[in-house]
């Protein structure tokens, strides 16, 4: 694939005069308006704050405060706790979601499996359920008064687990993320598996390799680029987790208003009307995500693709 790409790129494309600019215009205008301008404006705001100036009866006025907002964001224990919680959430969600997705994709690709179409559609179905709705749904399943899981435990005479206790709530939220994401990633990986030429593992099969060996030694390495892609996107989306905890928040006291960074940003901007702190916190979060993604991408690309593209 990579060889083909370089060949195609080396062929001189046409300049086409003004045409490419006309075709690019809508995208560029929107990119500038809704990506670059907001980024620039956030950075600008993050360096400013409302300060009382002029002695006793001063007026509050927006002034330049340098990196003060960043200092207070980085020393705000609620924000830092939120960042750590989010990272822990990512460490739970990304491997379990991708692990399950890969497992299901490989199982679907195994010969002589029954009910494949049913399972595939069933596992994919949560993708059609918006994050808020998924959280409401699971919220009801967790809520002590209505929880069918607790009902089942009680019916079996077992102590009912509390899904919204301080020690368990992180896993309960992570479960919603895994539930919502596993199907889509499974389909992506399954599509990659189906795109492989079957002769690549026919030989291994004739040599007497069993399906597990074929899956781990032949199929997984071949779809590594797809696994890396899904991994990156899973990581980016966990770094912006907001919907699930924010939806569970009205149901339980265990989820605070600053549970994850985006909740803190939302609270600062819209509840406390302190857009300057919110801007600084946004910049920190965006830079952090960018740094983590680029680092992981570079590392994985070198290992998975063997060369730079």
């Amino acid at each position: 694939m990579l060889a083909a790409a370089t060949v195609r790129r080396r062929r001189p494309s046409r300049r086409g005069g003004p045409t490419p600019y006309v075709l690019m215009a809508p995208a560029v205008v929107l990119l500038v308006l809704f990506l670059l301008v907001p980024i620039g404006y956030t950075v600008y705001l993050s360096l400013r704050a409302n300060r009382v100036t002029g002695g006793g009866l001063g007026i509050r006025r927006e002034t330049f405060v340098g990196l003060e907002n960043y200092a207070s964001v980085l020393t705000d224990s609620a924000y830092v706790d939120g960042v750590l919680r989010m990272l822990l959430y990512g460490v739970i969600v990304v491997p379990s979601m991708l692990g399950l997705a890969l497992l299901f994709a490989l199982l679907l690709d195994t010969p002589r499996v029954r009910f494949g179409a049913f399972s595939r559609i069933g596992i994919f179905l949560p993708y059609a359920v918006p994050g808020v709705i998924a959280s409401l749904l699971w919220g009801f399943l967790y809520l002590p008064d209505v929880s069918p899981i607790r009902d089942t435990f009680e019916w079996l005479g077992l102590p009912a687990p509390d899904f919204l206790a301080p020690g368990t709530v992180l896993f309960s939220v992570a479960n919603i993320g895994v539930w919502g994401g596993v199907g889509f990633n499974m389909i992506v990986l399954f599509t990659a598996l189906r795109g492989l030429p079957p002769e690549m593992y026919e030989a291994a099969r004739i040599d007497g390799a069993n399906e597990v060996q074929i899956a781990l030694r032949v199929k997984v390495p071949l779809i590594m680029p797809a696994i890396v892609m899904t991994g990156i996107f899973a990581m980016i989306s966990t770094l912006q987790v907001y919907t699930e905890p924010a939806t569970l928040q009205p149901l339980t006291d265990t989820v605070s208003q600053t549970w994850v960074p985006l909740m803190t940003i939302y609270r600062d901007a819209f509840v406390n009307a302190d857009i300057y702190s919110a801007a600084a916190a946004s910049v920190v979060l965006a830079l952090g995500t960018l740094a983590v993604s680029v680092a992981v991408l570079t590392l994985l690309q070198r290992r998975a693709f063997g060369r730079d593209r």
């Binding site: 045409t19 490419p20 195994t110 009801f140 912006q240």
Partner: protein, 299 residues
């Protein structure tokens, strides 16, 4: 890997012959898959059952058994009457945001991706790097500044405030570029140019047709992304008659904390909001070209 030159279509024939060979079912993989399907379907099943229960039954009856005491009708009628029928408006709003937003987004992404793939022009790499950075920057961290921008433009609380930011999709442009590079033939473009066809005519007649399958996939991805979006409309819209479904049900749940009778309506709302999207997916499954996402198409 270097042998696969172009987009490799999925090979149903090969899979079916593979399945037919040998007749013994593998029960362990089958059981694991069914377990996975149960995990994914059980909550949806529960909500379908819970939707049959009125407010008094929801908290008192056994969860895995539907109720036939008129709870279903009660929930439907009361949900549809809730605040003068605002629920249906939320559904239509969701459809509007996701439908219009996805169509515009695909149009913008497709022509931009085509231009990036098929022309060399000054600033191309700069634009592409910006787009790549845009893929990696969490869109949601931009929501607050986008709000401030919208309030400068006096657009807060309007349909535009949700639609406009939804149109730009760095990921969509990125995928479109890869897809255009792989499916639009340079030779045909060259031949067209020799015959004296204009650039826009070429884009329309030669560039567009092979890109349609990719555009359909992108349309579905964008539709779901906008339909599922919560934070952007939550920030931008304060008038409940312009809420999409996600924000509407969330505010209803918030109210439920003080009025528990609303919970059974929320459950019904969740049930009704899941149905159309599930139907859409079952119907549109076959049109997906997800090798686009998994990197099976290389340019």
């Amino acid at each position: 890997m270097t042998t696969t030159l172009t987009a490799r279509p999925t090979v149903p024939e090969a899979v079916s012959t593979k399945r037919e060979r040998g007749s013994r079912t593998r029960w362990v993989p089958t059981a694991l898959l069914l377990l996975g399907a149960f995990y994914c379907l059980a909550p949806v099943l529960w909500v379908a059952i819970a939707a049959t229960k009125g407010p008094s039954e929801l908290f008192s009856t056994f969860s895995f058994w539907p109720s036939f005491h008129g709870g279903f009708q009660y929930n439907v009628t009361n949900l549809l009457d809730f605040r003068d029928g605002v629920f249906l408006r939320w559904a239509l709003n969701s459809l509007l945001y996701a439908g219009v937003g996805a169509v515009l987004s695909v149009a913008v992404s497709t022509i931009a991706g085509y231009a990036l793939a098929k022309y060399e022009f000054v600033g191309r790499e700069l634009i592409f790097m910006t787009i790549l950075a845009g893929v990696l920057v969490p869109q949601i961290t931009l929501a607050v500044p986008q709000y401030l921008l919208m309030s400068e433009l006096n657009l807060v609380n309007s349909y535009w405030s949700v639609l406009l930011p939804s149109i730009i999709s760095p990921y969509g442009i990125y995928l479109s570029r890869i897809y255009a590079a792989s499916v639009v033939s340079d030779d045909m473009l060259e031949a067209g140019r020799i015959d004296g066809a204009g650039e826009y005519r070429l884009a329309w007649k030669v560039g567009l047709p092979p890109m349609i399958p990719g555009m359909v996939t992108l349309l579905l991805l964008q539709f779901v992304a906008i339909w599922n979006n919560f934070l952007l409309p939550y920030i931008m819209i304060s008038d409940d008659r312009r809420f999409p479904m996600t924000v509407g049900l969330f505010t209803m749940l918030n109210q439920g904390a003080s009025q528990p009778a609303l919970y059974s309506l929320v459950v019904m709302g969740v049930f009704l909001s899941v149905l159309p999207l599930v139907a859409l997916f079952l119907f549109l499954q076959r049109y997906w070209r997800l090798d686009l996402v998994s990197g099976g198409v290389k340019g």
